[in-house]
Amino acid sequence: MNNAGVVRAVHGMRVAQTLTRLLALAIGVTCACGALAATHGHVTDLNGAPLAQAMVTLTRSASAAGATATTVFTGSAGEFSFPADAPPGALAVRLLNYRQLGGAIAAGPAPLSILMAPEANQAGTAPASAYLKDIKDPAHREALVMTCVACHQLPAPEVRAYATLLDNTPSTQTAAARELAWTAVVKQMNYVSNVEFGRAGNLVPAGDNVYSGGDPVPTGKLLAEALRGPMLEVRGYSYGAPLIVTPRTMIREFEVAAPNAVREAVPFDGTRYLYAADVSANRLFRIDTRSGAVKDYPIPGKALWGPHTLVPGADGVWVSPFFPGALMRFDPRAEQWKLWPLSQPGGPPVGLHDMSFDPNHELVSDHHGRIWFSDIVNNAVGWLDPVSGKNGEFKIPPVPGRSGGEQVYGLAMSPDRIHVWYCQLGISSFGSFNTETLKFETHVEFKSPTAGPRRMSMSDDGILYLALYGAGQLAVYDTKAGRMLGIYDLPDRASAPYATTWDPLRKVVWISTSNADAIYRFDPRSRAFGVLPLPRERGFLRMVHVDRRSGALVSSYANIVEHVRGPRMALLIDPGDGAVKVAEVAK
């Protein structure tokens, strides 16, 4: 190149730099995050073959704004691309049966080529449920899920580490010694639960009485049988159904800085904000999905409530607290709380779990303006008239042969707003209550007493979908015809399905799992399941909401209390099926 050529080249570079700066300014105006170009590339194996449906996660740098992590999935040619406004950060890829070579790499405008090596040991990519796949007796699996996964994934990394320790310790080489060791761990967990769930009062007695979870020995035996060997490896796990992710799928995770215990997250009124409950304290978080900024909204007063279940309504986010005695509502527009004390003369305080919601998963009242709820403490369905402040409730009739420990849990209202349907987690049954006649009507029992129905939802045409936590199944019940349409095995029976969410936009059911780091999609027309894998271990899910305005899914990792480690995050998900109005997301 001669001098003139150099001058032209330098001039050209300056022009390009100027254009780049102008472009950057323009993007800076329209985007919150300021990345100069979309991060994109390919994921292949060592032979150059493209790897489809790999999770590519961009974790933003600490100084950047936006989602904490953004995950996209590769297409059939192994290609991936992040939106232009994705923040700067580092990329990592996860794919079952592979491991990324070279570790995380910096995001940038140049095309990226990411290599993956085969890895039969799925530790690190398979969910906790993978370690339970070889339990032969379904009753044992159900018991462990119902007992342990109620509060944390099993086996969590700490549990696996303890199995390794037992495997390495000379004194715990016998089955009897391992049973003793696991029983001690159950005692520890019982103590933890007693402390955490007694936080509203000084309720920790001394000595052996501190254990609140019943006899630890049976669970210790089950753990000793199920968690054998060093547990450094898990092999042969598959998701159990086709993945539904596409190159358009995008999962955005928003971390809330510790300490907290994010429990549930919901959208509200088509805004760009998500609202998340902190069950460890008295507050909601408002998460700005554009900037990632988090704002606290403390509940006024000194009583400890612990926001727990959230249901969006026309007039605010309705909140049932973890500690009993009230129903509350946060008005995001006025940024104000309102609290309704719930009286229960002569009995224990009212312990809300679920509130009545409609097929759109929005709070709904009956024809008399009453909001209905499940009272897990008194095993009753209750109501509140938010105008008068009056409340009352009706105890659920005992079920012959299954009395004691009923634990009414999920609640949903029929489309005609006459019936509320409830399920009883502890005795595996569900039923209905007529809000006009004030009588209990339907009652249905699942065969297994540890099937464990938790949160449920109802479609526009009155089909009730129940997540069977212990059994790892989905029950589908026609409330109009009064008959069970089917009980379907989930793709992973140890997934601990926590909730179902009827999706009125797609006419499908979303099933959130607590132990499989995944959300399942059930299509009632084909009766087929699909899997939406999540990009993070310990994705201990509770409810999934569908944002009516955008079609995006909203959820959260619900790792409860400070003892249970794991991510504290709200999630905003575009499943990549074309149903999400991208322009409406994070508006």
Partner: protein
């Protein structure tokens, strides 16, 4: 079998009493140092009663003669867990506790006999 589920436990423990703070407060109420309470040592140990693990005062008594030299050994036991001195059941590992914090907890345990 009863479950560890949070909500049935509420049924037993209900009472919307005034807030008393976070779980570490329990450890403090039971006489633990703030650091030991924050690291949840009370989950397995009490001051004077044997629970899942030995009481703190017993640990202090066992190593009293060699307290200074025992700080590091106890700190590593806190972090790595293991069995051998108090029966067959291994103590869980606490790998998230820093060596500095583990040493501080060990020093607090070992001074219990003297106090």
């Amino acid at each position: 079998m009863k479950t560890l589920n949070c909500l049935p436990i509420i049924a037993v423990l209900l009472l919307a009493a005034p807030a008393t703070g976070f779980a570490a407060d329990v450890g403090l109420r039971q006489g633990l140092s703030p650091l030991a309470a924050r690291q949840h040592c009370d989950e397995c140990h009490a001051m004077k009663e044997a629970r899942i693990g030995p009481p703190f005062v017993a640990v202090a008594a066992r190593y009293a003669a060699d307290a200074d030299a025992s700080v590091n050994r106890l700190a590593l036991k806190i972090i790595n867990g293991g069995a051998g001195n108090w029966g067959t059941i291994p103590m869980v590992a606490n790998e998230r506790i820093s060596l500095e914090d583990a040493r501080a907890i060990a020093r607090w345990i070992l001074q219990l006999k003297a106090s």
